[in-house]
Symmetry: C2
Subunit: 402 residues, 2 copies
């Protein structure tokens, strides 16, 4: 294939503004110290047990299941497993028929957004939220409105005020996207009262909630609160979770849970894209036998790395940055001096082999700012100490720690 034909004018108008808004990924050498992305610890992946799990699955289901197109909602045994898990650990009452397996929770976010969002529609998120969600919302032309957080996450009073103000302008938000547990990137965790307050606002004003709960299993300390969805008696919550965090990102497996009529619409949108059987098998057969002990081990590993990173930040940056102290999840959220721009600083850090995620990438209004996110799950303790040391020097040399 030669490449002389120019496709520019062929691109759908619906996607061209999205494509133009995103800078092309620049190929760059892999960083020595990668604190940007939530990779897991390679040593935590149970390779032999996964191979054994796949052997059981192939023997139980292989011939029959591989010859057919998988169930549109994904491997039934894994959906039943998820329904039981949600009942036990999140207080939710959903049937396996309300679960759809997805390619990571990213696909769940994409499907819900595609289902509800026309270009120009308003979607509500926390003021800082998962950058992948913002990218997807951009792609469907959403107008994103961010709600400030306090130490428990999204503020219900400001959520209500925003909905009232928007309605006053004749605009109605399509849904409220929130990460109540170990909010990404801020790390906050809503208590039971806050969860019910957020739900009450949603129910009062008739705006559904999309609850992204993909970090709920990674708790190191503090009491677990039931999912917002567990309090919902009006069918106003959409929910997603992920196996990327408790097994491996490489399995690309998550799920969504929703009221039956929403699931029926999702199945039509999702047509032809059931999740790969191998991943579903490996995940089901492994987690069926090992979930509790594996999550316990992961939390032990991540808690240790969180503490190492907090210690290293204290040593390298002293009191001139303020870090979150999350009870779980995979990230620290750092606030620097008000006039520091973490977007421009990133180029300096990269030159020295260190990456982080800028506060800008999580900002609902995409403004440059003085925050940054550090992922602590992937690097070794030694790499965390060294990398944070290098980052401290970069900040020091660029006047960011004065």
């Amino acid at each position: 294939m030669n490449m002389s034909f120019d496709y520019t004018d062929s691109i759908a108008k619906g996607v061209s503004s999205f494509l133009n808004s995103r800078s092309p990924a620049k190929p760059s050498p892999p960083p020595e110290f990668d604190f940007a992305i939530a990779h897991l610890d390679p040593d935590s992946i149970p390779l032999e047990a996964l191979h054994e799990a796949l052997g059981k699955a192939l023997s139980d289901y292989g011939g029959k299941d591989l010859a057919f197109y998988p169930h549109a909602q994904g491997f039934p045994a894994l959906r039943e497993f998820v329904a039981n898990k949600l009942k036990k650990s999140r207080g939710m009452d959903v049937t396996p028929d309300q679960i759809v397996l997805t390619s990571g929770s990213g696909q769940a976010i994409g499907l819900f957004t595609q289902l509800f969002c026309d270009p120009g529609d308003i979607l509500i998120t926390e003021e800082f939220t998962y950058s992948g969600t913002l990218t997807i919302m951009d792609r469907f032309g959403a107008n994103i409105v961010g709600i400030p957080l306090d130490e428990q996450g999204m503020r219900p009073d400001l959520l209500e005020q925003t909905i009232v103000d928007l309605r006053g302008q004749g605009k109605s938000p399509k849904f409220i996207y929130t990460i109540p547990t170990f909010q990404n990137p801020v790390g906050t965790d809503m208590g039971p009262v806050r969860r019910q307050e957020i739900l009450a606002v949603a129910q009062k004003h008739g705006v559904p909630i999309y609850e992204d709960d993909c970090y709920a299993d990674l708790r190191f300390s503090g009491d677990s609160s039931p999912a917002i969805s567990s309090y919902d008696d009006q069918g106003m919550t959409l929910y997603s979770g992920s196996f990327s965090k408790i097994l491996a990102p490489g399995v690309r497996l998550g799920w969504l849970a929703a009221p039956p009529d929403v699931v029926s619409h999702i199945n039509q949108l999702h047509y032809g894209l059931p999740t790969a059987q191998f991943s579903a098998w490996a995940t089901y057969y492994y987690l069926r036998d090992h979930m509790e002990s594996h999550i316990e081990e992961l939390c032990h590993i991540f808690k240790g790395k969180r503490d190492t990173m907090l210690g290293a930040i204290g040593e390298a940056m002293g009191s001139r940055v303020v870090s979150s102290q999350p009870d779980g999840g995979l990230f620290l959220w750092l606030r620097m001096r008000d006039d520091v721009n973490t977007t421009t600083l990133l180029a300096k850090a990269r030159e020295r082999g260190v990456t982080y995620a800028t506060g800008q990438s999580f900002s609902a209004n995409r403004a440059e700012n003085n925050y940054l996110r550090l992922a602590f799950g992937h690097q070794t303790h030694q790499e965390i100490r060294e990398g944070i040391g290098v980052l401290g020097s970069v900040f020091e040399e660029n006047g960011a720690l004065r």
Copy 2:
């Protein structure tokens, strides 16, 4: 979750017309004789070899690769394998960077359609074409225009006339979707000259071709022609293929190949959805060592079943139906008497435990008609003989064979 909230008004306008246009799937007992869907022969799935392949992959790549998010375009070794395969068997010159692994070729169709099609845009297909493609095009609001086929597939003269006529009305088609090899459902196979004629029309009028080549490996007889894309020196062809047909539908793995700037746009649309590693691993390690012999075995199996089905049709329906005699693929295409309606006949067949795919489901204009498609890959020889016998009786009893 209760279900009292009504989401009807929340659904995006862009998808609501699509959702309303599709009747909800009716749950029904599985048919005794399923000739509707291209399931494979369960006995053809190499379970032990796949397990062995996964063991090698986990040992070579497991720890490192599963801890990270996979490459956005999918497992690099498999993309290189695909590029080599396309060079060798389809005459195409593409680099691994031009390949994106997808969740079956259905996702490739969805991505290309999403990239190029705004609601109301015109897309060209064969007069009868893959029903999944029609569903996806509907979902993105396409205006589908079908081109009649002759014994070699899409007619280039009518293709050109249609483009000229559309342009005369101020309308320009976004792309031409064609299945040149063992066309689904009609079974035609374009020779080299026809392929070049179709390409010449596309190049002359500046309309890209989307070549869906997912049956190319399943050839029982006749000479293989290079892909249309192999003749393209202007970067005007988009291409997709699938492992569903030569390994197993359950792997949900296909690929697209496109000019670099299109791949770059696809990567942005496709963000967060790389194909599951397990499927890619199993496929790569298995096919690397066994592709030729496995395809040879599959073709042997399918050719035998095709012949059994042709024989059974002759016995049960005589000369009152005309069947395609395809050199490959997985389907027979049957033409019945002009006034027979295969859509209404299907209900009668289902009552007797037999299903087929109606001609209507493949029709670009969705009109009811006198054609039907029978898949011969999945059922045993005995089941094919029995099921076609039952179908013949149903047709006979309903006056369709007079």
